[in-house]
């Protein structure tokens, strides 16, 4: 089995792109159980949905400075709902694990594939099916969902929009997420190469491990909650309907029991990518490896018990609010530990400011702002002031887009040469990063100011006194979009015209840099034997 790959072939020909399977054409991809192909298909799908989501976001910003000119009020509700559903459920939750996790997890632990390759392919099909169902809910008879991405009862049960279909789509996506988590956890337990001890695992693998557990233990709670919505709409089961004895607050509890840990499904792997990039580009071993590992596990476990902070104004006992607020402060500690470790890794390093590092440093900056404003939101008294305002919108986008989004792009630039065997233009990548970074801050920092002044979120027509900063924010959205266009045209043109990448262009020390770019069909000619920790061994080629 081992000899098949490399004998008598140039590295180019033995790459997994040239692997001949049972099928040809599109089916060669869709029917493939190769984790690398599955990862790339996920990546393509994710980025397509991401571009739709960004377009809708720009549309929302446009409508806010000229209400009624582009969208009417009902369409506005639909657009921000669909923006949320796409960005959350189709892009950022599956996000890093399904794209980069699939491609690199087996390589990083020295395996040929994940533990259950066919289950892995099933998750891709489920993802595509779920996405298709969600898309269907936008275009078939009736209106697109207009509930906001949270599907809050009782409105989600009463509205005439196609909520049942959208919810079914998210339910199917949930299965995809659960199976991915299950597969990764089993893979990390069972498929490590000889000598790859737990504390020799690259940190990206550790964060995927923690994420996998959150996917396994949190997602089913969302699934049953969505089932309740459908049962309410189709059979009139009234668990959230006070006239039938139910309680709408219970919906919020069940929803956030999943959806807060879901934040960690998104952000933990993002932190993993940053932990890979920092040591590579500062030419130092990572500072505090074990602290980063344990803080990831701490985030994953404590993150289950903070969901109540989404509901401080919904009606809860004071005891519950104080406890939830306190645990919210606790969960911020491990994130702080990580930030210190990343910065300490830079200290006395020999720093190469390449594009992946720029995105990673932006992550630290933006995520710190997002995290610190999270503490403002998480304390009881300020929460009353900023709840339901643009402050929340700004905080959320700083953590999710500024955090996970930047990390996604950092990972994309970092691993691009490995995945596609081509190099992109560093210069253009940096120009794109500049507009993206500036645009991002103009767009979302204005929202902090607006929110602090009291501008309510989700309003179609904001009161006139907020117009000034609103315009600033919208201009920011144009800069951000420009930045993204530059970034992606650079990468797309590199796909076709970029110079060939060496096997280790950045000097990374983890196993994926020890094999050719792009990797051969079964990753390794011989399964490597690992005798040391993950960082500080690579040389630039």
């Amino acid at each position: 089995m081992n000899e098949r790959t490399m004998d008598n072939k140039s590295p180019e020909e033995s790459s997994f792109y040239h692997e001949k399977g049972k099928y040809s054409g599109v089916l060669a991809w869709l029917m493939s159980t190769d984790h690398k192909r599955i990862g790339l298909m996920y990546l393509g799908a994710l980025l397509s949905f991401f571009s739709v989501g960004v377009t809708l976001g720009v549309l929302i910003r446009l409508s806010l400075i000229a209400p009624g000119a582009i969208l009417n009020a009902q369409q506005y509700n639909e657009v921000f709902t669909v923006h949320g559903i796409i960005q959350i459920f189709l892009f950022i939750i599956p996000g890093i694990p399904v794209a980069f996790g699939n491609f690199f997890l087996p390589i990083m632990i020295g395996a040929r594939d994940v533990a259950f390759p066919r289950l892995n392919r099933l998750t891709l099909w489920l993802y595509l099916a779920g996405a298709a169902i969600v898309m269907l809910s936008l275009f078939i008879k009736g209106a697109p969902p207009d509930t906001g991405w949270t599907f809050y009862a009782p409105y989600s049960i009463q509205t005439k929009a196609n909520v049942s279909l959208a919810v079914l789509g998210v339910f199917v996506l949930g299965f995809s997420s659960i199976f991915t988590g299950l597969n990764f956890v089993t893979t990390i337990h069972r498929m490590r190469a000889p000598g790859m001890e737990w504390f020799r695992l690259p940190l990206f693998v550790w964060t995927l491990y923690a994420t996998g557990w959150v996917q396994i233990l949190a997602t089913p709670v969302l699934a049953i909650t969505l089932v309740f919505i459908v049962l309410g709409r189709v059979f009139g089961v009234g668990f959230f309907d006070p006239s039938k004895g139910g309680d709408p607050i219970l919906y919020e509890h069940l929803f956030w029991v999943y959806s807060h840990p879901a934040v960690y499904i998104m952000v933990l792997p993002a932190m993993g990518i940053i932990s890979e990039i920092m040591p590579t580009f500062s030419r130092r071993n990572i500072f505090g490896y074990k602290a980063i590992v344990f803080s990831a596990l701490a985030i994953a476990s404590v993150g289950y018990f903070v969901w109540g902070h989404h509901m401080f104004t919904s009606g809860m006992s004071d005891t519950a609010r104080i406890v939830f607020s306190f645990i919210t402060f606790l969960v911020a500690v491990p994130s702080g530990v990580k930030v210190f470790n990343w910065v300490a890794t830079l200290y006395k390093g020999s720093i190469e400011v390449d594009s992946p590092l720029l995105f990673a440093l932006s992550f630290i900056f933006l995520f710190s702002i997002g995290g610190l404003t999270g503490l403002i939101v998480g304390s009881l008294a300020p929460n009353l002031h900023v709840h339901g305002t643009y402050f929340i919108v700004a905080h959320f986008h700083y953590v999710m887009f500024g955090g996970v989004g930047f990390s996604f792009l950092a990972g994309l630039h970092y691993w691009f040469p490995k995945m596609f065997g081509r190099m992109f233009s560093e210069k253009v990548a940096k120009i794109g990063w500049f507009f993206f970074f500036i645009g991002f801050n103009v767009l979302y920092f204005s929202m902090f100011i607006l929110g602090y002044q009291g501008m309510p979120r989700r309003y179609f027509e904001p009161p006139p006194q907020y117009h000034g900063w609103s315009v600033v924010s919208t201009v920011g959205s144009w800069l951000l979009a420009l930045g993204l266009i530059i970034i992606f045209s650079n990468l797309i043109s590199a796909l076709f015209k970029g110079p060939k990448a060496s096997s280790n262009p950045w000097g990374g020390g983890t196993l994926e840099w020890s094999i050719p770019s792009p990797p051969p069909a079964e990753n390794f000619i011989e399964i490597p034997v690992v005798d040391s920790g993950p960082y500080g061994h690579g040389k630039r080629e």
């Binding site: 395996a111 040929r112 533990a115 259950f116 289950l119 659960i178 988590g181 299950l182 597969n183 956890v185 089993t186 337990h189 069972r190 498929m191 490590r192 190469a193 000889p194 000598g195 396994i216 233990l217 949190a218 997602t219 089913p220 709670v221 699934a223 049953i224 909650t225 089932v227 309740f228 049962l231 059979f235 009139g236 089961v237 009234g238 668990f239 039938k244 004895g245 139910g246 309680d247 219970l250 069940l254 399964i527 034997v529």
Partner: protein, 214 residues
């Protein structure tokens, strides 16, 4: 087998995994899946406990309308079916294919019996006009509306799981006949058995919550 021996020079744990017949890995995967099932049902048990603590008296009176005899018979059936599937696995491990096939058939039959009895229970209730959103149910006390809604949702979703289990065992039956499952390769059957036991355990909690605590 030869390959396994060869790669044993490395780490014993992962050698098995790399060769593609990873028994332990398959078991880990199944247990993780059962954890998700547990939390899926957990959402329903959470609602039950919240509503029960809100309306204890009405839950008490509504539970007296359940058919204790049919509930008990179904409990017996499901417990026996857990026994038969366990015997089926023990038989295949000893290489006794025919006996294992008999025991798998028995399990399937018990599962179908359970669903048939459930069908009669539901139809008896529906003929009395008790089903979610029915005028007869909505005219009752709020706690009773919730009790019967929970009854339909929880036993309904449990019933779907029984049905999936029956189908899964039927597939295992075919695998066993074809020899895909055998003395040396019984992980599939064992995992199906684990799933079946899980479905059984859920019922063991549903039975007292709806029938016994009156």
């Amino acid at each position: 087998m030869a390959m396994e021996k060869e790669s044993n020079a490395g780490t014993a744990v992962t050698a098995e995994a790399q060769s593609g017949v990873d028994y332990t890995g398959k078991k880990i995967g199944m247990w993780l899946f059962l954890f998700t099932e547990l939390l899926f049902f957990g959402g329903m048990f959470l609602l039950y406990s919240v509503f029960r603590s809100q309306y204890p008296a009405e839950f008490h009176s509504a539970a007296q309308e359940e058919n204790l005899l049919l509930g008990s018979v179904n409990t017996t059936i499901l417990l026996t079916s857990s026994f038969t599937i366990a015997v089926a696995i023990a038989a295949i491990r000893k290489g006794n294919k025919i006996f294992s096939l008999y025991m798998q058939t028995a399990t399937i039959m018990f599962g179908i019996c359970f669903l048939i009895i459930k069908y009669f229970e539901w139809s008896a209730k529906i003929s009395k006009g008790i089903y979610p959103d029915s005028p007869a149910l909505l005219s009752r006390e709020k706690g009773e509306i919730l009790f019967f809604s929970l009854y339909y949702v929880m036993t309904g979703i449990h019933g779907i799981h029984v049905l999936i289990g029956v189908i899964a065992i039927a597939i295992m039956f075919v695998y066993t006949r074809r020899g895909v499952i055998g003395r040396d390769n019984f992980a599939k059957l064992e995992n199906t058995g684990l799933y079946w036991h899980f479905v059984d355990i859920v019922w063991i909690y549903l039975f007292p919550l709806f029938y016994l605590i009156t």
